[in-house]
Amino acid sequence: MTPEQIIFLIVAVVTLVAGVSVVTSRNLIHSALWLILALFGVAVFYVLLEAGFFAVIQVIVYIGAIAILFIFASMLTRRVMQDTGHQSNKNWWLGALIAFGLLVGITLVLVNWQGFTSLAPVLANQSERLSQLGLALVSPDLYVLPFELASVLLVAAMIGAIFVAGEKKQ
């Protein structure tokens, strides 16, 4: 067991336990906090995959903005400080069955794929990757179109969110 494998297992267990607590917690704010822990675990995975840039972007975008949005929305849409009562649907067993069935299906498909247990190839030229990503996002024959469309989408989402959630002027 190399140290990398030990770290992977610890972080995977923590993230999955946090994920299960997100979907089964009774208190909505506790769910948001477990979500923060799960997102942080995913950020550690990005570091393990040698994509450090994505780890930092994950913390900034998800934990620094989206999780705070969730906490604010939970606080603004509840009538009392404590939330009680069962948080799951009537047919929760059916949801669990579907999720488990999907897991089994995905695993079966993956096991029969020949590249399933490949090991990581050695990475070269570490310092150029960030500038390569930046160039790829703006060069005309690579990915400038999805990049620009994503920025238009963000502007539209911003205007839409302000309009939908804003106070209606009398």
Binding site: P3, V59, I60
Partner: protein, 413 residues
């Protein structure tokens, strides 16, 4: 390598050999060394705070024409220790109905967000906690974690006013992250790298000469992030009792307090590193350890300016603060970023046809960027003049409040 040129590797190798000779495996030794390194970075942060609190209180007192602490030790330098003992021995009062886990977690998040920043600041060419090639983004990320601590503190206190204070505080912190990131992108653009040590290496001419507007925007929005005056609405001591920290007592409040002071010192260190050249100074190539001295001199000068601004300015209102951010700082930062990028690209396109000396190129580049910044400042001042209040609108004439009524005729005669 010897101790002078590369102290951290020297000590790490010596310690590693010592542990190996005791029979531990190599990976275990590596893990222990990394933990020791992380612990040292954290402890160093706290040790700095002990000195910083005394410095701030002494400066505060002197500028206000009083003595400041002067009883405990010469010039009161041990004043922080009695304060620490007082805070340690206070009782923890947890409010009824507070969420215990979140209530205890919030001060820890606040302080750790600040301590994590010290991992990427370079003290010398070879003394740096860890060399991440996305260091600047890492700084923004741990700032975002600080905002999380604030909202959790406000919510878990089970107190309406704490919650309101936390909402305002998070609005301020999250809003001021935007111009901070945009102003940080200007040195990244000029230094062609996101790693903090690489930025210091690229500063043959200090970035404050290249882009003073970016330095000012970064400095101002960092002060607003911390909650230092004039942006200290977060814990305005005369309103909202203590904002989101109202229900905290004892060491938990002490952690918020320590976190705030350390954050103020950290932003001085960051400004000194990114805009004033960090460890750069004379004789640093020959004696790399001298970089530590230069770094601390610059940091303390910037910290002196931070304390000066805190002492002398009144507090801003929340709507004034947010207006300032969204209507002034963010457009200015965006315009600055775009124009700096255009000028830098144009400069490097025109450069081969100018036949300059090899050593003069950074200075010519610095001069051109400085001219661009002056140009932007002039245009901004002209635009701001057109927003001046033209005249005071007269709403009503003052009415006399107390006028003696005319005595009735029958009383006089």
């Amino acid at each position: 390598m010897n101790f002078i040129s590369d102290p951290i590797t020297f000590i790490a190798n010596w310690l590693g050999n010592l542990l190996l000779s005791w029979g531990l495996s190599q990976t275990f030794v590596t893990v222990i060394l990394k933990f020791i390194g992380a612990g040292l970075v954290g402890t160093f942060g706290f040790a700095l705070v002990i000195f910083t609190i005394w410095l701030e209180r002494k400066l505060y007192g002197r500028i206000q024409d009083r003595l400041g602490p002067n009883r405990v030790g010469p010039w009161g330098i041990f004043q922080t220790f009695p304060d620490m003992i007082k805070i340690f021995t206070k009782e923890y009062i947890t409010p009824v109905g507070a969420d215990k886990v979140v209530y205890n977690l919030a001060p820890i998040l606040s302080v750790s967000a600040v301590l994590l920043t010290w991992a990427v600041i370079p003290f010398a060419p070879t003394i740096v906690g860890t060399e991440v090639n996305v260091g600047v983004l890492y700084l923004v990320a741990v700032g975002a974690i600080g905002a999380l601590g604030i909202i959790l503190a406000g919510w878990s206190s089970n107190n309406k006013y704490s919650l309101l204070g936390a909402f305002r505080a998070v609005a301020q912190v999250v809003s001021y992250e935007v111009p901070m990131v945009l102003a940080l992108l200007v040195p990244v653009l000029l230094g062609r790298s996101m790693g903090v040590n690489s930025l210091v290496n690229a500063q043959s001419v200090w970035f404050i000469v290249l882009s003073p507007i970016a330095a000012l925007i970064f400095f101002t929005s960092s002060m607003a992030e911390t909650g230092r005056a004039p942006f200290d609405l977060l814990e305005a001591e005369s309103e909202l009792v203590a904002g989101y920290q109202t229900e905290y007592s004892g060491l938990k409040f002490g952690m918020f307090y320590v976190g705030e002071f350390l954050h103020a010192f950290t932003i001085s260190a960051l400004t000194a590193t990114i805009f004033f050249g960090g460890w750069r100074g004379p004789w640093t190539e020959q004696v790399p350890i001298l970089g530590v001295a230069w770094f601390f001199i610059k940091t303390f000068i910037v910290y002196f300016v931070v304390v000066l601004i805190r002492i002398s300015m009144p507090r801003l209102r929340i709507d004034q603060m947010l207006n300032f951010n969204w209507k002034f700082l963010t457009p200015l930062a965006l315009v600055l970023l775009v124009l700096t990028a255009v000028l830098d690209k144009a400069f490097y396109l025109v450069l081969p046809s100018l036949n300059l000396l090899e050593a003069a190129i950074p200075w010519v580049r610095a001069g051109m960027h400085l001219l661009l910044n002056l140009f932007i400042v002039i245009i901004t001042v002209q635009l701001l003049k057109s927003y001046k209040i033209k005249s005071v609108q007269v709403v009503a004439k003052p009415k006399p409040i107390a006028v003696a009524p005319e005595p009735p005729a029958s009383v006089i005669s």
